[in-house]
């Protein structure tokens, strides 16, 4: 579904991504891991068009999307959540997800229909499956950090993507909240058949949910494969697992 080949990106002479390669097959959960500063978030930003690659290729569903505008990539069926909370701070929880659903249906340039009557069921269904139904009329800035992280993913789901990118979905969360996210990821993958690409620091989570793992080290893909192969890979142990104990 997604192919990344020999991707390169530098910032002011610093080579953030020097040779990233990634294959995400349809229907699987793939995790990108690597130490801090390995370039995981940069890789995500390149894939979703928030950054422009210097060279290399990104193909989504067989078509080149390298350096395309983020909104166009979203239209093709890719949505993402962000590592830091990135929501519409003055809107209610309901409107946060509804805005995304409206954009998905390409009604964002419609002037004369009352917005509050649009896609109510579709929005509520998403809120419900994320356990946010009871907060729907609240201002999203009144939510707890954990709930905001969940809302972060719910907004992405509003785009009805085929490929969902999660950038550190559990960063800063308690173990209980993390479990909620894990269940959510499993639900989305198994019941909704979503293809998921995620980055994560929590190794337990990665080995729990991921069917494939890609290891990024200093901007370079050093290994890619099944979880057990990654666990036994010498170069990965040296570069990464050894470092963090």
């Amino acid at each position: 579904m997604l192919q990344v080949e020999q991707l390169k990106k530098s910032f002011d002479g610093f080579q953030a991504i020097s040779d990233a390669n990634l294959l995400v097959p349809k229907g699987e959960v793939v995790a990108v891991i690597g130490p801090n500063g390995a370039g995981k978030s940069t890789l995500f930003n390149l894939i979703t068009g928030h950054l422009q690659a210097d060279s290399g290729h990104i193909r989504f569903q067989g078509k080149e999307i390298t350096s395309m505008a983020p909104y166009k990539i979203c239209h093709r069926g890719m949505a993402r959540s962000f590592q830091l909370i990135n929501i519409f701070s003055s809107l209610t929880v309901f409107e946060n997800v509804q805005a995304s659903v409206i954009a998905k249906h390409r009604l964002d340039q419609n002037f004369f229909r009352p917005a509050k009557k649009l896609f109510i069921e579709e929005t509520l269904e998403i809120l419900d499956s994320f356990g946010l139904f009871d907060f729907k009329d609240r201002s999203c800035s009144a939510l707890s950090y954990g709930d905001q992280k969940v809302l972060e993913i719910a907004i992405a789901l509003g785009s009805k993507p085929e490929l969902l990118l999660l950038d550190e979905p559990t960063a800063g969360m308690s173990s209980e909240e993390t479990r909620r996210i894990v269940n959510l990821i499993k639900h989305l993958s198994r019941e909704k058949g979503l293809t998921i690409l995620l980055t994560e620091h929590d190794m337990e989570l990665v080995f729990d949910v991921a069917q494939k793992i890609m290891v990024l080290h200093q901007g370079k893909t050093i290994a890619q494969g099944l979880p057990q192969d990654i666990r036994n890979d010498k170069s990965v142990q040296n570069a990464y697992l050894g470092e963090t104990g």
Binding site: Y71, N86, A99
Partner: protein, 328 residues
């Protein structure tokens, strides 16, 4: 003021009861319909000026309050609208109605050109470019003697027979104001309006859920320009003359202050601000010629003590009292 400050402003909506709002609007309109019966001609004229300015301020707020864009020179589109009417009626033999219809379109076209450049920039840079390009339009109007009559302006603009009395002008401006406000209100409540708030809150996220943020902002900019053009038509109906000072940046600053004064967060806020400032400038004008000094002091007090604007502040109190009643 930076766009960061704008972001802190809560949503232009609230728990304010829709029916209560409609009720107040209905009473207000009835009072305004009857007003010429008990006001002197001068006050009728003054109210018509308030209507004109109110439409201008409300159109600016679509970009400023809802879009979160630091639009510093909205007066340009107002001036372009007014000049279009003036030029078409005095330099061509086209009917007056054509001039009136052309005015908002020309204003929107200029907004499209200026906006096309501005939406590529953010925050203060956006603001500076609106200012720079706006002043460019002012300079053209000021200098192009053959077309605009330069700094003399255009006076004694002919209007149709039925628009010669101040009372008929009053009703015409009121009617056009109400229709424009209804359309603007519907736009703020539309999917476009919701997404505009979303792009204000978080442009990066808006882009990732599939919104072309630049185009969205440009659309808002052009719509605001269109309605500023309509306000320009109203100005000509009321004053029957135009001058380059209409397009000068200080005019735009005053409109910006109206929005701030009434409150960017409430649809009716800029209208209240426009009413207060227009009437106040008249009253102050009776006593002193230092209106700008008074305006400056007002702005200072406003920014320090009432950053959410008068109507914004009242809505806050109202919402709090509703919360208490609801037992939250």
């Amino acid at each position: 003021m930076s766009t960061n400050n704008l972001k802190l402003i809560e949503n232009p909506k609230g728990k304010f009861n829709t029916y209560l709002g409609l009720g107040i609007a209905a009473v207000g309109i009835i009072v305004l319909l009857l007003a010429p019966g008990f006001l002197t001609q001068y006050y009728v004229y003054l109210l018509a000026t308030v209507f004109t300015t109110a439409l201008l301020a409300t159109s600016l707020n679509l970009v400023l309050g809802y879009g979160g864009l630091l639009h510093l020179h909205h007066g340009v589109f107002f001036g372009v609208g007014a000049y279009t009417v003036a030029i078409v009626t005095t330099k061509t033999s086209w009917p007056f109605a054509v001039a009136v219809l052309l005015a908002p379109l020309v204003a929107a076209l200029i907004a499209l050109v200026i906006g096309w450049f501005c939406v590529r920039l953010r925050g203060l840079y956006f603001g500076m470019l609106t200012l720079a390009l706006g002043q460019l339009v002012w300079a053209i109007v000021y200098r192009w003697n053959a077309l605009t009559n330069g700094d003399n302006g255009i006076h004694a603009i002919p209007v149709p027979e039925f628009l010669t009395s101040i009372n008929s002008v009053y009703y015409a401006t009121l009617l056009i104001l109400v229709i424009s406000l209804i359309i603007l209100y519907i736009i703020t409540k539309s999917p476009f309006g919701l997404m505009l708030l979303a792009t204000r809150d978080n442009p990066v996220r808006s882009e990732s859920v599939g919104v072309n943020v630049k185009r969205h902002r440009l659309t808002a900019f052009v719509i605001a320009g269109f309605f500023a053009g309509i306000a320009g038509v109203l100005f000509v109906l009321v004053e029957r003359s135009v001058a380059p000072s209409l397009l000068f940046w200080s005019e735009s600053a005053e409109v910006l202050i109206m929005c701030l004064m009434g409150g960017l967060t409430v649809f009716m806020g800029p209208m209240l601000g426009a009413g207060i400032l227009v009437l106040l400038s008249m009253v102050v004008g009776l006593y002193t010629e230092y209106w700008l000094l008074v305006l400056g002091l007002l702005l200072l007090l406003l920014v320090l003590f009432l950053p959410q604007g008068i109507l914004g502040y009242l809505m806050e109190i109202y919402n709090k009292s509703q919360d208490k009643r609801g037992g939250n």
